[in-house]
Each structure stands twice: as C-alpha cells, then as structure tokens.
Subunit: 458 residues, 2 copies
C-alpha cells in the first residue's frame, strides 16, 4: 500500500493514463536519429520546452556533438539528489520493410505501442518525466532533489558523455544515479541492475602476399593470412572457452556473497532460452553457471572473420589478406586501456606480422554494490509500484556508460529497466507494452518518494 504522499500521485497517474499515452505517442512521432543527425535539434528543443513547462530549470548544453539536455529541481534541502540519466536519440529504423507499422507512426497493437525509440529510450525517460510532473502537479514539489540528464549520442556510443561529466562535476553533483533503460529480466519480473560490463573492440588484420595466388602453384611456399589469424586466435581463447591472454583476468573482481546470492535467485528457463535461439548447447565452459558467465566473466567474441573466397562452388585461391573483428566485454575492475595493452602485447608476441588495430577507446565496466545505501529504497519503490520484489542483477550483461557515474562522479549507479524483455530495441518493430509504460511512471514516482524518506548523506 502506498504512503499518504504517494497514493494521490499514483491516482493522478492512473487518471491520466490515456493522456500520458497520447503525449508519449506525440513525442515518438519526432525522429531523433543521432547516427544520421536527423531531428536531434528539434527533439532537444522540444524537451527543453516540455521540461521548463513542468517546472524544471532546464538548459540545452552544447557539446562538440549533439547537445545534452540538463533539467534540475533542487528545492529539497537535506534530501538526496538523484541524477536521472536517459537518452533522447534513437537507432536508425532500418530495415524499414520489416516494420509492420512505420517506425515514426506510433501504433498500438495487442497492448503494445510500436515505434522506434519507444523502449530505447523515449518511453522510459518520458516515464521518468511524467513521474516528476505528477509529483509536482499533486504536491507542488518533489520529495527529493532531481537532476535529469538526457544525452543525444547514446546510440552512437556516447563518445562525449565521459568528457561532459568530467567537466561538469559540480553541475551534476548528486548522491546516486538511476538509469531507466534496457529490458527487464526475461522472466518479465521487475529488475534492478547494479552494473554493466565494459567493452573494447579491436581488429586483427593480416596480409602476406601483395595479391591472391593459386593454391596449386603457390600452396606450400606462400603463407596464408587466414591460417596466421586462425593460429593467433587459437592462442587467445582455448577450446574450453577460457581466454588465455596473459594478465587479462588480473583485475577481475570476484563476486561478493550478495552477488552470488542474487544470481542464484534469478529465474532461469535454460531449455526455453536454448529453444528460443535454436541452440543445441551453451557456450563453453559447460560447467560455468549461466548468470555467472553474463555478470562476472569477461568474454572474447569474434564479431567477424573475412578473407578469401566465400561464394558457391570451389575456388582454389590462396588469399593474401584477411580481417578479424573482435570485442571483449569487461567486468569490474578491468580497465579498457590496460586490456587493449595486454591484447596488443599478446599479438606482438604470438604473431608480430598481424596488425592490431584499435579505433575506439572502449567503455569501462561499472559496478555498484548490492549492499549500497539506495538498494533498500529502490526495492521499496518497486514493491510500491509493482506489488512485487524486483530481481537484483549484480551486473548488466551489455554495456552502458554507467562508469561515468560510478568512476567519475563516484556515486552509486542503478539501472531500473522499464521496458518489456522483448522490446526489440535496435530492431524492427521496437515496442513497449502499455503496462510497462504505466508501471514505469509509477516506479519513477515511487522512487522519488522513497528517496524523499532519506536524509542527504554527509
């Protein structure tokens, strides 16, 4: 049962169900594709207008890329300040022909709203905005202090968020960060994530001869770059699935007792998972627990391998160059630059003729302890909004720029996904269930309420 302060806010949210949905639909009609610089300026301006009207002190902060929207309400002295992060840019909608309804004509079917960006991330940060608005409409004030940070470049890898946060630490001074992004757990249960894996990407390129040659006339004397790369890769990860690059695991922090308890509680329908992807087996090593792999282990994924002939029939060519693209997912407390240095040293040792190419600096992992101060109020907020305890996931599987909060601002950071697990983000027919949107607004409202029960620390 909601407290006296929260109940009328929930009532307001319920009473405005269709109005809020209409406003979300209107918001989704505006494309804001960062990769193609389509609609970014328009949606940035629209947000400034919307947030100012709600009663937040709002500014559009220019960067060398797309601008940041920063909105604040800080009239609750002695109460914690929560930094709510989201992003107003969306993925390109290609392939268009796979969409049942056009990506920027939001359409409701079977209790879901279909549109590009509805789950990732407009529907989620709009729920946060409506939660703020509902508190202000009902009570004329917020229970705690809020800084809302919406970036416009998340879908192109957040290249400027770290620099922006580093340069604006005073402006963004907060006690915790909360990101509503990504899907809930596959079981459908509400979810809190305490971290995200980092990532680095690199290419391995090998070229021997100056041109392709005939495998009969030259096979045995001319070296083959595909073999060179195969043998190099085989030294980087063994058949048992263990990464064998020297020092790569040096900084891996083992899971805490709370972490292990949390993943043991996570629902797991392994047969359903395998069936859904048509898998006959999981990746090696066979004996490692499912969630342990996703939360606490770095991975070395070959994203692509291309060289020589790939068409029908046979072509007895000995190719002269080949390219491998890889990524490594990092766990706390691996450092992207340190890991890249170790991979580079490994390549130089085992195959100095292979070119090691890095184009991006990568993203740091992030981890907040389950035993941190704001876990309990977050859990209470979920219980208030959903009527059930959220699942606790110690480390998100994919990568989010949460490290800017944990490592640059030095505050705990939580991810509270509002979207359904099958939101199809980055894919055609992206969607969010109407229930998820509604419960997202409630969760956002409950979160502000619960934080308002605390005193600012220190």
């Amino acid at each position: 049962m909601a407290s006296p302060d929260l109940a009328p806010v929930f009532d307001h949210i319920e009473a405005n169900r269709s109005v809020f949905l209409d406003r979300l639909i209107a918001y989704l009609r505006h494309p804001s594709i960062s990769a193609e610089n389509i609609g970014i300026a328009e949606v940035g301006a629209l947000l400034v207008e919307m947030l100012t009207e709600i009663g937040l002190e709002t500014s559009l902060v220019p960067t060398t890329g797309h601008p940041m929207v920063v909105a604040r309400w800080e009239k609750a002295p002695g109460k914690p300040t929560v930094l709510l992060y989201g992003h107003y840019d969306v993925q390109p909608p290609d392939p268009l022909d796979k969409w049942v309804s056009p990506p920027f004509e939001p359409t409701i079917r079977d209790g879901r709203l279909y549109a590009r960006g509805v789950g990732d991330n407009k529907g989620q940060h709009f729920a946060q905005i409506l939660a703020i608005e509902s508190h202000l409409r009902v009570h004329g004030e917020l229970p705690c202090n809020v800084i809302l940070l919406l970036e416009g470049e998340e879908e192109i890898g957040s290249p400027r968020i770290a620099g922006f946060v580093r340069a604006n630490q005073e402006l963004l001074k907060a006690d915790l960060a909360v990101t509503a992004d990504g899907p809930r757990h596959a079981s459908g249960a509400p979810t809190i994530k305490f971290g995200s894996r980092g990532v680095v990407s690199f290419d391995l390129r090998c070229r021997h001869a100056s041109r392709d040659v005939h495998s009969g006339n030259f096979g045995g004397v001319v070296p083959n770059p595909i073999w060179t790369l195969v043998h190099l890769l085989a030294t980087m990860k063994n058949e048992a699935g263990e990464i064998t690059i020297a020092g790569l695991h040096d900084d891996v922090e083992p899971p805490t007792a709370e972490d292990i308890e949390a993943i043991e509680r996570l629902p797991l329908d392994l047969e359903g998972f395998k069936q859904g992807l048509g898998l006959k087996r999981l990746d090696a090593p066979a004996d490692r627990p499912f969630y342990d792999r996703l939360c606490f282990q770095p991975t070395l994924t070959i994203n692509g391998f291309h060289g020589g002939y790939g068409g029908p029939g046979t072509k007895t060519v000995l190719p002269n160059e080949a390219l491998v693209k890889c990524d490594i997912r990092l766990v706390e407390a691996q450092d992207p630059q340190d890991i890249l240095d170790k991979v580079r040293a490994h390549v130089e040792k085992h195959a100095p003729e292979v070119e090691f190419i890095v184009e991006e600096t990568g993203m740091q992992p992030s981890k907040t302890q389950i035993a941190s101060r704001y876990t309990a109020p977050l859990r209470r907020a979920f219980v208030a909004a959903h009527g059930e305890e959220p699942l606790l996931i110690p480390a998100g599987f994919g990568s989010l720029p949460n490290y800017v909060f944990t490592k640059i601002l030095g505050i705990p950071a939580y991810v509270t996904p509002y979207a359904n697990h099958d939101e199809a983000n980055h894919a055609p027919n992206e969607n969010m269930t109407l229930d998820c949107f509604q419960s997202g607004i409630r969760t956002g409202a409950a979160l502000l309420h619960e934080l308002g029960q605390l005193k600012r620390e220190g």
Copy 2:
C-alpha cells in the same frame, strides 16, 4: 644440330613463321568459353575441319558436356604412339576493363601475342598441330603414331575426361601421353614436368543460434561458430605448418633419388620470388626446401573464411553462422576419396557440430618416374628445339587431369609447357611470346622425330 629428317621440318617451320602466327591469330579470334558455353560448338567444328585437312582421321566425339576432338594418324607400325592432350576451351575473359587490348582481338606488343587462350591452351596445342602438319608437309608422313585429344571442359575442371578415357581405352591406346600446357619454369628455361598434384575441396559450415545476437547480452552463453571453426582448424594444421589430420600422410610416396637430384638442380631466386609477391617470409615450416614443398608435400589451404561483420568501425555482434572453404593438394599416391574420408573423420571427431560439405570428387595426383623410358627422347627433343637441356620438375605444383593417362591408361605422362612463365593464364592480358610459340612448334616437331627413333615396346 638436327638430324637429316628433322632439319627440313625446322626449315619449314622457320619459313612459315609469319603464316603460322597469322593462323594462330585467326584461331584465337574465336572465343570458346566452356563456363558460359560460348563458341564451343564453333571451335570444335573448326578444329575437325583443320585437322582433317592436315591429314588426320578426325572426329568430334559427343559427351554429356562439351565434345572431345579426337584426331589420329597411325601409319607407323612398330613405332610408339603418342597421345597429345590439350584443351580448346578458354577461361572467361573477365574483368574486361583490365585488358589493354580486347581478349578476342589478338594483338602483338613487344614480342608477345595478347589474347584469351593464347597460352592456356590454344597457342600450345596449335603448336602441336603445326608440328604434325610440318612433318606431314615435308615428309608426307609422321615419324611415329599420334593421337591428338583436345577436350572442351578443362577450364571447368575436366568433369568428363576420366569417364571418357575409361570408356575409350582402346581408342586412346598409346605408349605415352604428352601435354603441352602451363608455363615454363620461372627462370625461363624449357621444362619437362613428370607429374601434377591432385586436389580435393571441401567446406566447413557451422551454425549455432538461429540468429545473430548481441555480444553484450549473450556473450558467454551463446556459442560462436567462428570460434568453433577456429578451434577445429587449429587441430587440422599446426603453427609449424604441419597438417595434423590423422592418416593424411599415410600414402605419400617419398621422392626418389632422381626426384631429389632434379629439384636440387632447379634454379631458385628466392629473394626475387619473395620480392615479386611482396613476401617477408615463406610459409612454414621454414626449413623445408622450396621445391620439396611444391612437388612432394600435400597442402591444406584455407581458400576463404567468412562469418559475421566485416565492415568499417565496430559492430558488437555475436554471429550465428560461418563458412570456411578449403582445398588440399595431393601428392602421389594420395587418393581423393580416401583423403576426404580422413578429413571427414577428423571433423566428426573434433567438432561434430560442424557440417562437412563436399561438392566435387576431386582430382587424383599423377606421377611419372624421371627414370621412365621416354625421358631421354623428350630431353633430346628439347635440346634439338632449344639448344639447351630442359629442367626436370618431378611433380607439377598445380593440378592437371594427367592421372587419366597414368592411372587409367597406365602409361607415362609428361607435361612440356610451351608458354612463358608470365603467360597470365586465367588473368587479364594473357599472352605468349612469339619466341615461345615458335620454339613450341619446333619442340613438338622434335618430339615426334625423337619418338620415331624408338621401337614400340612389347
């Protein structure tokens, strides 16, 4: 100095230098592209007319594919019969824009004739035809018996030659086979080859999930087909360059003393070879002699490896399928089916989830002993035509269907390449030097003369 019988034939060839060249040019103007079935029927008919007019008993023998041209002169009882093999089909001329002069408009530049098929193989078998014609014009007869077999499907892998030879063993009964095809040794010296490597091709295909997935959300639990193939390949050939498939070397015949002596005599400009291909090193193993690798060792070449993302930048995808294409060059006395069985057993043992795909039956290796009966007359023919001893190459590097002579007809088979080493066969600007064409006719004439000095065996 040529013998009394051969000298007037050489004179005739010299006197007709420009006439013969013009006739070659006329022949080359007719495309005969087996892969596209262009001009095959026309050139087949043209050959029948030409060979009949010269005085050979000629027929166009239909097959389920392109017809065989068989022409014979067998009026020298007690003398050996030589089966002269060649092919009247040519490679497609693509890419057309890389040709300095159009492929079917033969053009002379700097002492070379440029046209598709001039080296591979029209210029070479036409030299054999002119050698026969010259003997007949000068002496009214040939010094030995001749069967000329010209196929029209060599450039699409000679799919019917074995069946044809097997079904026509009486028709093709001969004492030796001689093929004028391919380039001379890179040093420019005249060359006799005593064998050719065989070849088998196969694909390795691996598919795990039913779709690509995100490396962050699924990395660690969903298996990666590229890793599966990398680890499988690493069990098939080690970093030292040794093929490690069980039993693969079982049937490899070690080189004879004559073989080793022959390769030790072959000129080798290793620095020039590496420079020409921009190579920093030869293929492993570093200590194996250059010609030993090309003549006596099987090879396992990865022709292509394709899976996942290969474009610019990064894409953190965990791909769901990948394909590897390979060929194995076989040496005497490896059998294609036996080798494919061994590779299949290896794949089934090490990676049963990888699909092993074979579309073609492959080609057997072929080897004739250097110490065989016709080596001496062939060497004398080269000395007569060129004024220098030919190089003896125990086994050709690439694959030719010579096994149909050695293994089906059971006769020794020799390859006497007439084309310059830089003939650019299968490539734009295919060419043959005018000198090579002329010395080819002389070699063909001298060969018939030398064989005429022998009695038919048995």
